[in-house]
Assembly symmetry: C2
Homo-oligomer: 349 residues x 2
């Protein structure tokens, strides 16, 4: 997960109050109460796990999507193709979170019957952090897999044209007494948002984060913003991004890569695509035994030897679970800019 | 894919003759004709795509597995659990390729009915390059996904204990007139085999390939061999390795990570695990339209702008398809050591 610089003037708020706040904002944009609360919950859940880049920081952008950019606040997802373990959902140009939650719910229900099911989503929009949907599956005793198409910010390996998205992937696996194993990662080293923060602060970025417009590694944040994000593992990461982007978009008939738009003009409304897979552990293996073995692997990581200076080791999602426990106790910290962004939209009374 | 230094004294052989050669070697180890030919085909197919690390170079190791290390040359895979789209295969301690091919065939047949199906394999052994199985799905108009557990060579991020495998993943996607998109990648930057070659030649390795035993990056190949492989994308790559390793092993009840063994003693026979998923494109989308869109994305990559000095850009699997066309015409080049290794086992007459 992303580690953010500790910000001055942060204020804490309970998850409950924050959810209430953002739900009202989305209701004022014309969303129904249930959808507004679901959208709010996806954002608060991200903040709650310390993934503030995908938290309520996004609310002003999302309001713009609903009010200016053509996303339908009353859009309704529906299953438009249904064959055994394969489902296609049309999001009806709803907020991406609405169609994604719907699609994963359908995949889970079908996996309950058939052991495994996959639901693609088209007619959708930005759907936030993917872990939200894979944890839906985990709560039902299933493995969740989720991937989405993203606006292109990378080039093919050796190229300079921005035609590949960082197309995130989440895989979540139920544990027993330990927190579930939750991977949620894009296939770039960093993100535009993080590079923008370095640019504002006037500090250099690590040399593996970005390429300049000619495809050469750069530590200059300004040149990076005009250039390309670097994939993880060179050709490997961009290859992963390409295949998961195709699965997330083409399989359900959604826009892929440059078809979705670009980072300057933003995405075309209602063209985005995602893929959700649920695998019922109990269909394959004794669920109890499985959970115990996941617990064992999580503990093995935690108890293994550390590089000098490293305080603690985590399985994927372990650090976020720790943050969640802290924030549940002490409240979620929001920085001044995020707080002001929300207040400009709706003042807490 | 891996680029190997051009070797002196390489000899070319047709795929047909090479397959015949290695098939006889495996028959002499007690394998049935059909299984021996299948195992041989998986190796020749890897050489054919330029992936010599997973080609017939492995034959002496595989013979040792069959003759000394306890793999059953007559082992028969069978479906031991069958629920809708979820299948569990026990490899019966056969060579990993036998159970893997069997499992993907079963997943494909089930996906033909249900759109999507997944087959886990336990009771198995090293199964070679994963692309072989994902291309099985592609030939049936399906998307193939394959992942396997591997002996641990990495540490959790920030750790020094060798407890995570590089757990490769392959995803293959059918195209129309273009070659299929075929990703096949491990989640490490490099491999033990490649570092050994650098060590033999006495040259330094890139600083992102390995850590020394204390978990510090090293360019010294000898220290690297005593140390750890570096994951791609730091915590991201090792996280990917962890979740795909769990899916490949725990879901089907196979050994995970250190349970399988270590790099010194090798894997325990008949404990390995893999996962194969088939997704029938036609269950989700008009197959013709899908293939045309994949073609379009492949062409977009090929025709996009290149970094100065780069000659050509490829979609995943594109370079391998080019190599395959060349080798089909001119024969497969084998270096002297590989050729000798085969001749020691069985002399071509």
């Amino acid at each position: 997960m992303a580690i953010y610089p500790k910000s001055e003037g942060e204020r804490r708020i309970t998850a409950h109050a924050l959810l209430d706040w953002v739900t009202r904002i989305f209701e004022e944009c014309g969303m129904g109460e249930e959808d507004a609360a679901l959208l709010g919950d996806t954002l608060v859940a991200a903040d709650m796990r310390g993934i503030h880049s995908h938290g309520v920081l996004r609310v002003p952008d999302y309001v713009k999507k609903l009010q200016v950019e053509g996303v339908n606040p009353r859009g309704r997802p529906e299953v438009v193709r249904d064959r055994g373990a394969a489902l296609v959902v049309d999001g009806g140009n709803s907020m991406g979170q609405i169609g994604s939650h719907f699609a994963m719910s359908k995949a889970i229900a079908r996996a309950r019957e058939l052991g495994v099911a996959a639901a693609t989503v088209r007619g959708s929009n930005h759907c936030g952090a993917m872990f939200y949907y894979t944890l839906q599956a985990v709560r039902e005793g299933m493995i969740g897999i989720a991937t989405t198409n993203a606006l292109p910010t990378m080039a093919p390996w050796g190229g300079t044209d921005k035609i590949v998205g960082i197309n995130p992937l989440s895989v979540a696996i139920p544990a027993g007494v330990e927190s579930p194993v939750v991977l949620d990662t894009a296939f770039s080293y960093s993100s535009h948002g993080k590079i923008r923060i370095y640019h504002q602060k006037g500090v250099e970025i690590p040399s593996n984060w970005a390429f300049d417009a000619e495809g050469q590694p750069t530590t200059d944040a300004a040149r990076a913003l005009e250039g390309l994000l670097q994939p993880i593992g060179e050709f490997k990461g961009v290859g992963l991004a390409i295949v998961f982007g195709m699965l997330a978009s083409m399989l359900g008939g959604a826009a892929y890569g440059t078809e979705l738009g670009n980072m300057v003009d933003g995405p075309a409304a209602g063209q985005d695509g995602h893929l959700f897979v649920a695998m019922d552990v109990a269909a394959f293996e004794d669920a109890e035994r499985f959970r115990e073995r996941v617990d064992g692997a999580v503990r093995q990581i935690r108890e293994s030897r550390r590089v000098e200076g490293v305080e603690k080791l985590y399985a994927p999602g372990g650090l976020e679970a720790e943050i969640e426990a802290e924030y549940r106790r002490d409240g979620i910290p929001l920085n001044e800019a995020t707080w002001r962004g929300l207040e400009e939209l709706y003042t807490l009374r």
